[in-house]
Each structure stands twice: as C-alpha cells, then as structure tokens.
Amino acid sequence: MHEETTAGRREGVRGESFTLEDLPGAVTDPEICGAYAADASGLSRVPDAVVRPQSEDEVRELLRVCSARGIAVTPQGLRSSTTGASVPARGIVVSLERMARVLSIDPQRRVVVAEPGIVASEFKARVREAGLFYPVDPTSEAECTLGGTVACNASGSRTYRYGPTRGYVRALRVVLADGSVREVRRISSDKNSTGYAGLQNPVDIWIGSEGTLGVVTQVELDLLLLPPGVFGALAFFRDWRAAVGFVQAADASRRVSTASGKAGLRPRCLELFDHGSLDLVRPDAGGLRIPAAAGAAVFFEEEVSTEESLSAMERWYAAIEEAEGLADDTVVAQSEAEQAELKRLRHALPAGMNERGARAVSNGGRKVSTDFAVPLDKLPQMMEEAYTIVREIFGGFHVAYGHAGNGHPHFNLLAEDAAGLTKAREAARRMAERALDLGGTMAAEHGIGKVKSALYRRLYPVWLVEASLGIKRALDPQGILSPGNIFGEDEI
C-alpha cells in the first residue's frame, strides 16, 4: 500500500508523504528489523520498522501516528506463533518485549496485574514466588509472552483440567487502532442474557483476536492456590489405539470420581506421543528409558499430596494394566528437575519439527501442523481417519502428539518441498473438515493467523466470517492492525 517514492519517503493512505524515522521510537536498521521478521510458522517478512515501546503512552502515540498515516502495525510478543500471526504482512512491528513488568499481585484476592511483554514462564515463576499458581502452560511458555497467550487464547497440557487462558482474564487494557485506550472488564455476574451469546462479554472479543483488534498493554488475571503436590509419569503402550483407549478410560474415571467424590484417577493432563514422536525423542531421552516395544506413550500428571501419592500411583498402575499398557515400564518424574526434563522432552517435539520445517523452507517446503480437536469419544475415529488421510494424500514424514485428553492431537507433516507442501496442506484441510464433521473445531489453540485463513474462510459459514469482519471494521476501520491475520486479506 505504501509506495516508496524518493529515498526513504513513503506515501500514506491519504497520499501524504512521511518517513518511517518520523515514527516515535522507530528503528529501521535492517539487521534489527530482520530479527522481527519470522515466527515459528516458517513465514517471514522484514518489517519496515520496529518500535519497542516501554509504556502504554508510547503505544498510544505510535498508533495515533500510524492511524493518521495509514501505516499497518502488527503487535508482537516473542514470535512463537505457529500460524504467521506475528509476521507483519506489511508496515511495521510493535514489539511489547520492553513492557514486561508484573505490576501487582494481590494474594488475598488472588489477582495479578502485569504488562504483556513478560515471558510466560517468568510470569508464572513470579506468581509462584508469591505462593500462587497460574495453570495455563503452553508448551512454548519459555518462549512466548503473556500478551501473546492472551492474544491467542493459548492453552497447554493442563488445559485438560484448568481450561485455556480465557477463563483467567478479568480485564485487559487495550490500545485501539486510533490510539484511544480502553479498559475492558469481564462481566462476571452469574447470568447474562444481553444480546447474542458469543458477544455478551466484550473482553472475550479481544482474547484470541490475534492482534487484529488492538494492542494489549495490561492484563489482569485470576490466580489459583498452589496444588498440594504433583507427580508426573510417562506410560507406554504398544500403539496409539491402546494409548487413546487409556486416555478415554482415565477421562471417564476422572468424571466419575469428581462427580461422586470417590477415589479415582484425577489427571490434570493427558498428553499423547505416537510412534513417530517416540522415535523423535528417543535419542534425547537420557535416563528416561523408552522401551523398544513401545509404539505410543501417554504423559499424565496428578495433583496429590505426598501422603496420598502412593495410593494414586497404585490406581494409575492398575489403569495402565487394564488398558494393556506396558505398566512395569511406566516412568515417574519425582523431583521438579525430572518433571522439567519430561516437559523439555515434550517441548522438543514441536520445537524439533519446527526446526526441520524451517530447514525445508529454502526448497519451498515447511512444517504443516494441524490444530483440530474433536470430542474425546470421537478421537479414535478421528485419528484413524487422520492417519489414513496423511498416508494417502501426503505420504511423507509425520508425527502426532499432544493434548489427547482434550481430543486435540497435533499432526505434524514435514513437507520437504513445494510439491510436498501442496499435498500436506490438502491433507490438513481434509483433517480439519473431518474434525468439523465430527463436532469439533479446526483451530483449537494456535488460532488462524495467516496460514489458516484460507481454510477458515472455506470452512466457516460466510455470514459468520462477515459478522467477525464487522467487529474488525467497527474497531479498526482502516484495517491497520495485523493485516492478513484471520481474514487473510494480504498474501505474504
């Protein structure tokens, strides 16, 4: 949209001329800008400039100038998005990395107020130091920001028990496209029948809006009490079918025991590793022995005090045996270091696949990952069909792992070149369609970003896309915020 005219001078939407250096705080050094070009999707475009504000006032000033000149602005946390959401389709990037303070923690009300740029794991550590617990745990928590998790409504393994980010957001401060600021507070009455259900609580519109409706400058969240203790374990199975059967049984046991108050399995997460995933982590597993007979594994955690952990473990052992797992090989993470190590292995899966995908980019390939989720009772059918689709349409290297307890496995397809990419996308589209048919969703936690916008437009009813665009236009009439995200107006 901006045409470069004379050296460094650009033309804004209304034809006026400006230089990016006029923008408050803009850095245009190409090397620095280059560091803000790519996210974990494999897409990249070097922004025209980067601004790294240190206060909400600086964000407001920036957006006032940008909206006056029609300059597109893409907010960024730490660019761990897997969908291209943080890659600027055009214009500049505003990075929130320098707004990274915890502003207050109220231990009585269990409420925290923080700036968006703090790294999620660091934020959680601060909360923990205050004796409290923030349960949202995206696998990427050490490489993403709190603001990014709000902008994507991130979830994690513990979402199985605790839900995604949304449930903890009490209020947000957001700078809108025109530079005005709005504090949006959750309406927290028990009942609400004001208008359409999806739009009854304005704060929900911003959570998961992927930078398209404003720049989040402050986050207020509910916190929980620390659990009395926790143990994690990795149980092995001969194949994914047995593993998924175990996940369903554990989920059923949790439902019965929570409803009846009787003893039962009380997992807080149920994460699947399929055959390929185990092969991928095996060389890196160290003292964690993955049996040769294992064709799948389930990682689970239960919050339980030390005194009660033994009886909980006995229940799990029986359940693994019942599901015909390799019960004797089940390994337990007893210390925090061992728990962190299991987490590291789990993280190595997406990180490793992203790296391989990035290496294929020069050949026109990349990693294509699914983010569909289905109701848990449909998971065996969905996975059966998904493996068939991947084999028949794609045929290349693939693994599946992830949040099985939520019916949410990530299939990762490694497209080595452009031809592979076309096939991988086609396979991903088919899987998404099947997930919708089975009563699920095509994007459970990574959002739409740029890589899934075509799919979104294809699979979602036109009137719903239009309604969403209506909200977008009402808040950002010029379309300067994160162009290309969700609706896919710009091709990179």
Partner: protein
C-alpha cells in the same frame, strides 16, 4: 558372561558364602541445585523452607552404576545415608524405588554438626557391618563440595580408593578397571576389590523411578540406626573442623554495554576496539 563368585575371590574371609557382588552406595541428602538458597537465622545453615531436598547428583551416578552392575552380574545393592529424618524419604524415592534392595539411615543428633571426618566415621562403621565388595559414592556432595567423605571412608576401612571415576568395568573376579578423566587425558587404573570408587558426571544416565518401583519400594527394608548401634559415640564424631558462618556471594551489578553506532560496520569496529582495549580479550 562374566560372573562374580565370592567363593573364589573371597576365600579366607569370615563370611564366605555362595554369593554375588555386594555393593554399598553412599548417598547424601542435599538441597536441589535449582533451589533458591537462603541462609538461616543462625548464620551457618541453610533455611530449609521451600527448599526441595534430593539425593546429591553425583551420588545418583553411583546408584545407577550399582544398579547396572547388579543387573549384569546379580548381587545386592545397599544404600546408606547419614543425615536427617528427611533422608529416609530420599532413600525410598531415589534408591529403593530405582531398584536398590535395602537402605540404612544413620541418624543421630551428634551428626548434625559434625565435619566430613565425623560423617565418614559413621558411614565407615555402617559399611563395615555390610562387608561389601564395592563401595560407590559421588565424587562430592553438591551442597558443600568437600569431596572428602569417599576417600575418608576408604582410609578408615583401609581400602583402596579411586576418585572421580567416569567409567568402571570388572577386569577379573576380584578387580575393576576404572577410568578417570584428568587434565588433557584419561587414566586407566586397575583396582582390587573391595574398593571405594567415587563417581563423576558422565559415568551413566541415572534412571527414573518406575511406577512399579515406587510401589515396591514401600515394602523394602529401610533401617534407621544411631551411632551407638554402630559402636560409636558422640565423641567419635565430634567435629574438628567447625563451620563458623555461611554467606551468599555479593550480587554483581549488571555490567553490560550496549554498543551504539551509525551502521553495523561501525558497531563491529567499536566491538572489536572494546574487546581489545577494555576487555583485553583479544
């Protein structure tokens, strides 16, 4: 396969029996290396609040080595710790649950303020009761890093000793060949049994406990003994080296420099200048 038969190489010892390799592992309870250490009000101990206590990392290599030897040759592994009541939990979680057969906790108020020699006396007395073929422990405990107890136990029992061992392999029915990494090289040492070896990092990859292991650990014997039971008294472990005070290191100020410059080339030139002139690194 190579097999240890006590009858052959232990002839002449009083307890000769048809048996297999018997290994004692010495294990110390220490704060986790991740723990945030605060000094307690007495100014010479660590405030135990919110500190996760674990087996010292090098002792874990020793436990793993013992278990691997047992898996290969059969035999018995006994873990011994001198420490507070909480060490019992550690012995269950980090030893018995992994496959150690039995554990002994030497617990005595006189040990709370002892020095390395006092600890070694208590442990040596506990080892003597077991008459092991091999005693393994970490090269040092990660909390105090004295690297003293292993060699002291060896001296008290009049046994040969090799420290900082990175690899061990039986070489005959009564000897081990061990490797030690030294500055710029590797020593290979043959040591006759019984012996004391202290383990270095890289010796193996310590295993995780299995669910089954944790469940069976609760039924395994864990004896608590005091000094009297070992034929010692408080006098025997009275410290001759006394910890006077404990301090955390001073916090260093952030000394980073952000290099300013017109272009990347100018910044690199400035960086090179600083490396030469300020840091004297080049």
């Amino acid at each position: 396969m190579f097999c240890f038969c006590r009858r052959v190489w232990r002839a002449g010892r009083a307890y000769v029996e048809e048996g297999l390799l018997k290994i004692v592992v010495l294990v110390k309870l220490v704060p986790s290396s991740e723990a945030r250490i605060r000094i307690a009000a007495d100014g010479r101990s660590i405030d135990p609040a919110d500190v996760e206590l674990l087996a010292s990392a090098y002792d874990e290599y020793a436990v793993e080595a013992a278990l691997q030897l047992k898996e290969k040759f059969g035999g018995e592994v006994v873990a011994i710790s001198a420490g507070p009541d909480k060490a019992a939990e550690m012995l269950r979680k980090s030893c018995l649950a992994l496959g150690v057969d039995r554990a002994v906790l030497v617990r005595d108020p006189a040990l709370d303020r002892t020095d390395t020699l006092g600890t070694a006396r208590a442990l040596a007395a506990a080892c003597r009761r077991e008459t092991p073929d091999l005693i393994l422990c970490g090269k040092l405990a990660i909390d105090q890093e004295n690297a003293a107890v292993g060699p002291q136990v060896a001296a008290l029992l009049d046994l040969p000793h090799v420290s900082v061992v990175s690899n061990l392999e039986p070489s005959s029915e009564s000897a081990f060949v061990v490797h030690r990494e030294i500055e710029g090289g590797m020593e290979e040492i043959e040591v006759s049994l019984p012996a004391v070896l202290t383990a270095n990092k890289g010796m193996n990859e310590p295993r995780y406990a299995s669910l089954k292991g944790i469940m069976t650990a609760k039924k395994k014997p864990l004896d608590t003994v005091d000094l009297a039971a070992l034929g010692l008294d408080a006098q025997a472990v009275a410290p001759k080296a006394i910890l006077v005070s404990l301090k955390t290191p001073p916090v260093r100020a952030d000394q980073g420099i952000i290099i300013q410059g017109e272009s990347a080339a100018a910044k690199v030139a400035e960086l090179v200048r600083l490396l030469f002139e300020e840091a004297k690194a080049l």
